[in-house]
Amino acid sequence: MELLCLEMDTIIRARPDPNLLCDDRVLQSLLTIEERFLPQYSYFKGVQKDIQPFMRRMVATWMLEVCEEQKCEEEVFPLAMNYLDRFLAVVPTKKCNLQLLGAVCMFLASKLKETRPLTAEKLCIYTDNSIRPQELLEWELVVLGKLKWNLAAVTPNDFIEHIVRRLPLPEDKLALIRKHVQTFIALCATDFSFAMYPPSMIATGSVGAAICGLQLDSADQSQWGDNLTDLLAKITNTEVDVLKECQEQIERVLVSSLREGRQQQQQQQQTQRGPSGKGLDELDQSSTPTDVRDVNL
């Protein structure tokens, strides 16, 4: 047991590579290829008969919680959602298989991005053993085929550093800004209305929302020149109006999910006071999805 605990701490990460982050060609290449990995159809209007938008949100919320609880790398969840959407855009899927698909997508995304990927057993336990590891492995193959083995999709997370580096931001706030941007990106991934947006737009909108949310833009107006949105739009070649709309949409989703989160918490607290509520409080704290509650509004 001790051995396992020690192993948990040895996550190896590469340091930020200035050759990648400071070269403009990298950002340009990301912008060029990102559209290739978008789902091809708004699948609720055709391909899917059994699955409703709210079910996508259910499975997405569950996936986010699993990723949070397992302390996955930030990009695992958005990448898994990219796989899920791309699969659902081409394969009619039954409601009862949606969680299996979600688990498979996390399995794949985690293997691509992490030094210690999620295991099939763990993921099956998270489905409350409604699926078996063998089934997960079988469907992994099916999903891979449908994704044409194109797993290295561009995610909004790929743009964060490129955008943040090009903005005049106070050093001491960078870590906080990144955290908030990541939270916004995860939030967007849970909401189907963002599924067809290019990742660069989601990233840019999230950076805008994070800076506005932390009120960094009003602290020193002069350093932003005319407008934060104009500057952001230039970095990722996004149209200003579209970007503004995207940022507002992100802020709306945040507000509604905060409200929902609060309601859910109250419900949980009520149920926890029931027969076997002991010890659950701690878990509740640690597994609350994202740091949304810390975001200043």
């Binding site: 998270y126 409350d128 193959l141 099916v142 509740d284």
Partner: protein, 168 residues
């Protein structure tokens, strides 16, 4: 299998929060299996159409945009030979703890090790068909038009063909 029980318990406690839940009710296992087999079959059919090759009977299709030519297994790079993984695993008795000093890390017994994703056994059979290049030399009378991937490996053939002992 006390070790297995222990690791299972750790996993269960990890996933004991509210995240552990079944979202959409029970899964119809039989139906799932049927759909899985159908999906695989469809993939195979699509691949057959695309490459003009019947991967089940191991023969080129009549109506094909490609001209297929048999190459002996020994000329294929090691990577493309069948069941390298399976052979390596078969040599080790299941359940035996193996220490690999090079990685400086004690390997858990095979059965305990959290799954290193493997191709499900049922698929291995399919994979064999997929990866085996037909050895039909007599059909080599057809004039080659296409560059074969093995052309690029000829210079290295002997090196690649040598059994790799180091580290394994």
């Amino acid at each position: 299998m006390c070790g297995m029980m222990a690791s299972y318990r750790i996993l269960s406690t990890l996933a004991n929060g509210q995240a552990r839940r079944n979202l959409f009710g029970p899964v119809d296992r039989e139906q799932l299996q049927v759909e899985y087999q159908a999906a695989l079959r469809k993939d195979l059919e699509e691949a057959s159409q695309r490459w003009g090759f019947d991967f089940i009977s191991d023969k080129p299709l009549e109506s094909s945009d490609f001209q297929w030519e048999g190459v002996p297994g020994t000329r294929v790079p090691l990577l493309y030979r069948t069941c390298m993984l399976g052979q390596a695993e078969g040599q080790r008795a299941p359940g035996t703890a193996a220490v690999i000093p090079k990685r400086g890390r004690v390997e858990l017994p095979q059965s305990d090790k959290e799954n290193i994703p493997r191709t499900p056994e049922r698929c291995v059979l399919n994979m064999e068909n997929w990866e085996k290049t037909p050895e039909r030399r007599e059909s080599a009378g057809v004039k080659r038009k296409q560059t074969n991937i093995t052309d690029f490996y000829q210079a290295k053939r002997r090196v690649v063909g040598m059994p790799r002992k180091s580290g394994e």
